[in-house]
């Protein structure tokens, strides 16, 4: 077993443990952890199963198979960041709606209070 493979396996396992631990402690909600989990598991599989890594790399014309790990990690990061952009856009829309509702409710509440006091 090459040193690079050992390092890759150690790295993937630590990533997986780190993510599972964050989920376990409730610091990442499951729906946001899915992509992270998938990337850690796939990186681990490719690190352990050298034959598969070599086969895919060969098919893709990659001369040095371990660099395929970088490509996979990079693609997952792209996906995760894109996912975040979608989530942030959704959150900012909800935040806007909430702020608008709260502001209008406050005004209408004051209106109502004045009417009650005027009785």
């Amino acid at each position: 077993m090459q040193l690079v493979q050992v390092i890759a396996i150690i790295f993937s396992i630590s990533l997986l443990i780190g993510i599972v631990d964050l989920i376990r402690r409730g610091m990442i909600k499951e729906q946001y952890a899915l992509l992270w989990l998938a990337s850690a598991v796939i990186l681990l599989i490719l690190s352990v199963w050298r034959g598969l890594l070599d086969k895919i790399a060969l098919a893709m014309g990659i001369a040095y198979p371990p660099s395929l790990l970088f490509l996979v990690a990079f693609l997952f990061l792209l996906l995760i960041v894109l996912h975040f952009s979608v989530i942030i856009s959704d959150f900012s829309e909800r935040n806007k709606r909430l702020s608008q509702e709260v502001a209008i409710l406050k005004t209408m509440f004051e209106q109502y209070k004045e009417r009650e006091e005027g009785k």
Binding site: K96, V102, I104, K106
Partner: protein, 234 residues
């Protein structure tokens, strides 16, 4: 039956001009409802408006003109208004011109009426850069809608109940005026322009600096093109 009219006054740090705007609106349209959307002002805008006895919606932070106007439309929809008119808090929209915006709507001629400075020669001379921007927007929006629209950046506009309801769901966030026209058109609403006179600003300063103007152009053009691709449900 008479239409319930709401004047929406978005205001961000307009303490100098807000009193003049509110009292002029009250004088011109004594029967209309007035709501000031105080967009996180740090000056006395909110308290001055409250002192004049009009409804004030205080947004919890500065949300931008788009979110502020949408708040106004939501307020209009919740309180069952038939017509909503945007009158900026900086005093550039003279309240004596509001009836020209409302009339075509109560007659059912259009869903939105835009008050245009360029439909008739009324002595508004924009700077060269601004003039070019106005021309570009006007050309693009006219091409999209297939009708001539001269003053796409004018915020002085009135909408009917259908458009109010539509705006509560779809309203652009920043620099919303041009985009709102494209959205309304896509959803199948009728848009019309009418000639109005506008004043120079009475207080505060223009919301746009030179650098922001470039960003403004790019952002609005991009958003309009995205809007054309977007699914819009009436």
């Amino acid at each position: 039956m008479r239409n319930k009219v709401l004047i929406i006054i978005p205001a961000y740090n307009e303490a100098e001009s807000i009193e003049g705007v509110i009292s002029a609106v009250k004088k011109e349209l004594p029967d209309a409802g007035i709501v000031v959307i105080n967009d996180g002002s740090v000056d006395a805008t909110g308290s001055i408006a409250k002192g004049l006895g009009v409804r004030v919606v205080d947004l919890p932070y500065n949300m931008g003109i788009g979110a502020a106007m949408q708040t106004g439309y939501r307020y209009a929809a919740l309180n069952d208004y038939d017509i909503a008119v945007q009158v900026d808090g900086d005093g550039q929209h003279p309240p004596d011109q509001i009836t020209y915006l409302i009339c075509p709507i109560s007659e059912g001629k259009a869903d939105m009426v835009i008050g245009s400075r360029f439909l008739e020669k009324v002595g508004y001379h924009p700077s060269l850069a601004r003039g070019i921007g106005i021309k570009v927007f006007s050309t693009i929006i006219s091409l999209i809608t297939g009708q001539r629209i001269t003053d796409t950046t004018s915020g002085f506009r009135a909408v009917n109940k259908g458009a109010i309801e539509f705006f509560t769901r779809n309203y652009p966030d920043d620099y919303p005026e041009v985009e709102a026209i494209a959205l309304l058109y896509k959803a199948g609403f009728n848009i019309m322009e009418t000639a109005v006179r506008m004043k120079e600003r009475t207080g505060g300063k223009s919301s746009i600096t030179a650098l922001q103007a470039v960003y403004y152009m790019i952002k609005v053009l991009l958003s309009v093109f995205i809007d054309i691709l977007k699914r819009v449900e009436r």
